[in-house]
Every structure is written in structure tokens, then in C-alpha cells.
């Protein structure tokens, strides 16, 4: 029988707060790397199925850059980062001084720069989660792909659905050069990417059992 999620409102809050802790670490690390102010949005928790999830990013038919990392150790899952053209231009320019006019012209050096952003963000988040949950979390070498956002998102979703009908998506926006007084993404920032943490039912249950034990 297919495994499905049974998440209460408390469970969702716990997962949101956990991701908040993780991405706060990630944004601090990215901010140190870029020497720019970085803000993050409040995470959104969503249970995704074939019928609902895959309509997500449907309008993202434009070329984007995706960074995929596999998480293993205490829990299994994926971190999926997606950056539109403006975000990639800004990040690459901030880190290497290069101007990127067309995402199709990214060379190995540019890809390596984006890989490093993926490493920093994911490493920061997993470090935060690892300290909080007291479990070991490691991530793979980032896989950088340039293509239509929706095609990449759907390919990952389909892969998740091979093992379970539903999966959990925790989604945050990451904004570089956010307005000085803002504490979260308010739109219009120079570089806004999105970070997803994809978890199957078993990984989500493992996290929740750990957080419930802490709360109890």
C-alpha cells in the first residue's frame, strides 16, 4: 500500500521551525561568502502528490539554473535550489566579477561558482539541522543543470514519486541584497532563489519523532 503523510498542524509547525533554523544558518554562511545582506522567507510546508505538486513552477518555462544535492546520513532526501537568470547573474558577478548575459554560456568556472553557492547553502542548512537534531547529515557533490525550471522540478518530483506517492516539500526564498530594514524577502531583491528540501514519508517521520521527543 502506498505510504502517505498524516501531518497535524503541530507537525507542520515543527517542520517549518526546523527548516527556519537550517536556512538561517545557510543564509548566514552565504552572507559571509558574498559579503552582502541575505534574507530568507518564512518556509512553506507542502505535501505534494502527482496531481497537485507538479503544477508547481508550471510557469517557470524560462531557463533557470538548478542545483541538486542528495542528503544522506540520519535522514535521506534532496535539497533542490533554483535560481532564475537575474539571481545567477548577481551571484556570479558578486563572487567572480564576471557578467553573465545568457545562462547557456555558463562555463566550467561559472558552474563551479554556482556549485559552491549550493555547497554553502546546503552545508549551512544541514549543519544547523544536524546540531539541533543531534544526527549526522551529509550531502553529495552538487549537480548543476541549466534548463527549464519546470522540467527540472518535475524530473525530481517524478523520481521522488517512484518510491512514494507523496513527498514533503519545504520551500524558502533566499534574497541577496535584501532591503536593510527587512527581515525577510519582500520581492524585488537583486537575487532571489528558492531552496526546497524534499523528504519522503520515512525521513519526515524520523525528523518528527526526534522533534517530538525534544518537545515532550
Amino acid at each position: 500500500m502506498a505510504v502517505t503523510f498524516q501531518l497535524s498542524a503541530d507537525d507542520r509547525d515543527q517542520l517549518c521551525e526546523l527548516v527556519n533554523i537550517g536556512v538561517s544558518h545557510a543564509s548566514t554562511t552565504l552572507s559571509q561568502l558574498l559579503k552582502h545582506r541575505v534574507a530568507i522567507s518564512v518556509p512553506t510546508v507542502d505535501v505534494k502528490s502527482a496531481e497537485s505538486a507538479l503544477q508547481f513552477l508550471e510557469n517557470s518555462n524560462e531557463l533557470t539554473v538548478a542545483v541538486l544535492l542528495k542528503i544522506s546520513g540520519g535522514i535521506d532526501g534532496y535539497v533542490f535550489l533554483i535560481f532564475p537568470h537575474d539571481a545567477v547573474s548577481h551571484l556570479v558577478h558578486s563572487l567572480s566579477g564576471k557578467n553573465i548575459d545568457d545562462l547557456r554560456t555558463l562555463d566550467d568556472f561559472d558552474r563551479s561558482t554556482i556549485q559552491e553557492v549550493g555547497n554553502v547553502l546546503t552545508g549551512g542548512m544541514l549543519n544547523g539541522l544536524s546540531r539541533f537534531l543531534h544526527i549526522k547529515l551529509i550531502h553529495s557533490v552538487p549537480d548543476v543543470v541549466v534548463d527549464m525550471g519546470v522540467a527540472m522540478f518535475n524530473s525530481l518530483s517524478a523520481s521522488m514519486m517512484l518510491s512514494s506517492d507523496e513527498f514533503l516539500s519545504l520551500d524558502v526564498a533566499i534574497c541577496v541584497d535584501a532591503a536593510p530594514q527587512s527581515i525577510a524577502c519582500a520581492g524585488g531583491e537583486m537575487a532571489t532563489g528558492r531552496m526546497f528540501l524534499f523528504l519522503g514519508p520515512e525521513a519526515a517521520e524520523r525528523i518528527l519523532s526526534l522533534t517530538r521527543a525534544m518537545v515532550a
Binding site: A2, D147, V150, A151, S155, L162
Partner: protein, 163 residues
Amino acid sequence: MSTPVELRIAELFVGSKGETVTTNGVGSCVVVVIYDKVARMGAIAHVILPHARPDDAKSPIGPDTSGRLFVKYADQAIDVLVRELERRGGVRTHMVGKLVGGAHMFALLESDQHGIGWQNVAAARERLGMFGIPVETEVVGGTTGRNVRFDCSTGIVEIVTKV
């Protein structure tokens, strides 16, 4: 010409004369087109996964509240496409299949070439074969996403990639 129908992921559509269908962001998914060359009508599905699991045999086939049909598995979708075309006067021996998609977008997701894209294409070929419908054209595999446009009257399939 009427506005093209935008086919969503996991959706299928049986076209009438003069209708065109577009579906975007085809990565590891597969777009299955079945065209009856004599009746000059076609049907299309944008499927996500290869085979329905035994416990998913009653997978929703729609239509939903807006009358749209959704099937996520290649085998089930082809069954519905053939049935719907036959219901409208199509004849199986006049039908040909066309396949687009099945890309291997992330090396990280599948360590070998038999990833989900490959499985989707294999499942679609197998099911079409069971109905005796030949695959006339296929643009499958590779590492890039595709946008697809299908003319239900002529059977012409156009593919656009962005990288």
C-alpha cells in the same frame, strides 16, 4: 486557428479537428502521442511514471471538475488514449505512436542510464506494442527538457529545447 490547449503534467487530451495542444517542461516525463492517419485525429498524454502499481489500479482517470482527464502512468494513459480514439471512430491498425521526453536531467538522480526517463520510454513502447501500434517517431533520452506542440489534425509534433 483556435488557441492551443495547454496540457498540464499528468493530463491527457483527445483532440478534434483544428485543435493544437502544447505541453511544456517535459523532462524525465514522456509525452505520448497517438495519431489515426485515416481518421486524421490524435490524442496526447504527458505521463510521469512508467507503470501503475497494483494498489494504484484505480488511479484517478478523471475527468476532474473542469472536465480534464489526468493519468500519471504511461501504461494506463495509453489504454485511455486508445480507448478514447476508438470510441470516436478511430481504428487501431490506422494508429501510429510518437514519443518525446524521457530525459536524464540530473546525473545525481540515477546512477545508470536506466533512470526514470528511460523506464517511462520503455513502458510507453511496451504498451503501444501490446496494442499493435508502431512507434513512428521518437525523440527521447538525452539530458535536456523539451516543449512539445501537437497538431491533432495533421499529427505533426514540434519540439523546442532551450539549451
